[in-house]
């Protein structure tokens, strides 16, 4: 058995080397197939990150009355911070609100002029509340509505709720579409892989007949093809990983611009999940190649 295995490996390596163009074409098709899967995977990762970024920016503001003392506001802030599902509560003082307003309208001289004509700061202090999990937004709003304090001037959360519902709907549709496209894509890739190996074996059909003729057993005919398909898949996945990292390096600067002020690095993401992603793809590729090898050899070995 050990000799037979060694011979299967020897025949496989011999065949790869002596049919070098066929081997190169097979590996290129495998690379294209694996690269497509990884591309789809990265689109999914980027869209998830984009949705998370938008969700991360969702917050609600609670405006304080003009006469509210800072100590009272800070006490309220502590009370809100203690609620479930509150990630952070940011206190925006009257002065801070004014500065933000001025920065925001620095190109609008009319508004700045109107502001200067007012003797006092017309803006209210506020508490900006960021939820831990936007999926539990409803219960957070309910909790916030239950807080009774004389310093609260307004707490209208309805606009945010509508926006969040829209985001959730979009997220759901993006995920559904992504899932459907992924399934379709994986199916197409599997077909491509399957066919590539079948074509490679088709070119050997007369040789398979000759092997049978000189008394080769089923196993002896199939084993070199299975070994070859494992080698093709291994080379394909290694080259795909290399090319894909090159591609991610080119992509990352654009993503940094897109996800400004947000900690997202797709290279790190793939590095952290490297073994999981590429070993799964390798195993999937090997499995489909073995099935294709078995089917094709069976078909062409009936001489």
């Amino acid at each position: 058995m050990f000799i037979a295995l060694l011979r299967a490996i020897k025949f496989s390596l011999q065949d790869i080397a002596r049919n070098v163009w066929l081997s190169i074409v097979t590996v290129i098709i495998l690379i294209l197939a694996f690269f497509s899967i990884n591309l789809l995977l990265s689109v999914q990762v980027i869209s998830d990150a984009a949705i998370d970024t938008v969700r991360d920016k969702i917050d609600v503001s609670m405006y304080m009355k003009a006469e509210a003392q800072e100590s009272e506001i800070l006490a309220l802030r502590a009370q809100i911070s203690a609620l479930n599902n509150v990630r952070e509560v940011i206190y925006v003082s009257k002065q801070q609100a004014l500065e933000d307003f001025q920065t925001q309208h620095k190109n609008d001289p009319d508004i700045l002029e109107a502001l200067r004509e007012l003797d006092s700061n017309p803006l209210s202090a506020s508490l900006v509340i960021r939820p831990q999990d936007v999926n539990h937004y409803d219960s957070l709003i309910a909790d916030l509505n239950r807080i009774s304090s004389p310093i609260i001037e307004s707490r209208n959360f309805e606009d945010h709720k509508l926006m969040l519902e829209k985001i959730n709907t979009i997220t759901e549709r993006v995920n559904q579409a992504g899932f459907a496209v992924s399934l379709l894509f994986i199916f197409i890739t599997l077909l491509v892989l399957y066919n590539t190996i079948r074509v490679a074996i088709y070119t050997h059909r007369s040789e398979i007949g000759i092997m049978r003729l000189v008394g080769a057993s089923d196993w002896f005919i199939r084993a070199p093809f299975i070994v070859s398909s494992i080698i093709y898949t291994l080379i394909g996945i290694i080259l795909t990983a290399g090319l894909f990292y090159l591609f991610l390096n080119l992509l990352q600067p654009y993503l940094e611009t897109f996800f400004m002020n947000y900690d997202f690095n797709i290279i790190n993401y793939f590095s952290e999940n490297f073994l999981q992603f590429f070993s799964l793809q390798f195993l999937g590729g090997v499995l489909i190649n073995i099935i294709a090898s078995l089917v094709a050899v069976r078909k062409y070995s009936n001489v």
Binding site: I3, A4, R7, Q14, D15, R18, N19, E207, G209, I210, M211, R212, L213, V214, G215, A216, S217, D218, F220, V303
Partner: protein, 234 residues
């Protein structure tokens, strides 16, 4: 006609092969070939010669009748047993059937490798057999780098490495000029002298007549003549 002999190496009893819808390639063929015989199986194209060869190497199962190789009844041989049959009944063809991406040496060695022979044994046997068929100097060439006659010699070498009991030669000279053809026939005679039963399937009148050996003639799937020292009669 030859009579049945208890020392039969090949024995066919009323063998018929019918292809759908109702084409009789072989029609109740009975014949017995003794160990060490050199037999020519002749007949026109489409007369059932190749079907008979295919039945003898287990590629086809007869529709009726019984086939035995020595004491082994191969009429309903299982797929797993075929590799073992092929090591006892070797076959060479008109188109040589060599693996194009292997050298002549590797083609011959391959037959032993599939049988699980050790590398040391392969290294000692293959050069000897290559020398025997006159390919000692060209054994490391690829089939495309040698002549048709040399390719057929390599095919014969591959058939011989198992030391088979029977060598079936299905139109082995069909693709060769007369000089190469005669060399191949001489080689088959030499192999026969070493004790291997040789069945030569051909429709080459000259070769059959020059051999002066047993000739079995097939016509429309039936044996119409079986002569101990025969001639091509069609």
């Amino acid at each position: 006609m030859q009579n049945k002999n208890s020392n039969s190496m090949i024995s066919l009893e009323n063998v018929s092969k019918i292809y759908p819808p109702n084409i009789k390639a072989l029609d109740r063929v009975s014949l017995h070939i003794k160990a060490g015989e050199f037999v020519s199986l002749v007949g026109q194209s489409g007369t059932g010669k190749t079907t008979l060869v295919r039945c003898l190497i287990g590629e086809e199962r007869p529709s009726e009748g019984k086939i035995k190789i020595g004491d082994w009844d191969i009429t309903k041989i299982g797929k797993r047993e075929i590799p073992y049959l092929r090591r006892q009944v070797a076959v060479i063809f008109q188109d040589f059937k060599l693996l194009p991406k292997k050298t002549l040496y590797e083609n011959v060695a391959f037959a032993l490798e599939v049988a699980g022979k050790s590398s040391a044994k392969i290294k000692s046997i293959v050069p000897q057999v290559m020398k025997l068929v006159g390919l000692g100097a060209k054994m490391h060439r690829y089939p495309s780098e040698v002549s048709g006659g040399e390719q057929q010699r390599a095919a014969i070498a591959r058939a011989l490495v198992y030391q088979p009991k029977i060598l079936l030669a299905d139109e082995p000279t069909g693709n060769l000029d007369s000089i190469n053809a005669q060399e191949i026939i001489d080689l088959l005679k030499k192999i026969n002298e070493f004790g291997t039963t040789v069945v030569l399937v051909t429709h080459n009148r000259e070769i059959v007549n020059r051999l002066k050996r047993r000739v079995i003639t097939l016509h429309d799937g039936r044996v119409i003549s079986d002569q101990a020292i025969g001639k091509y009669i069609l």
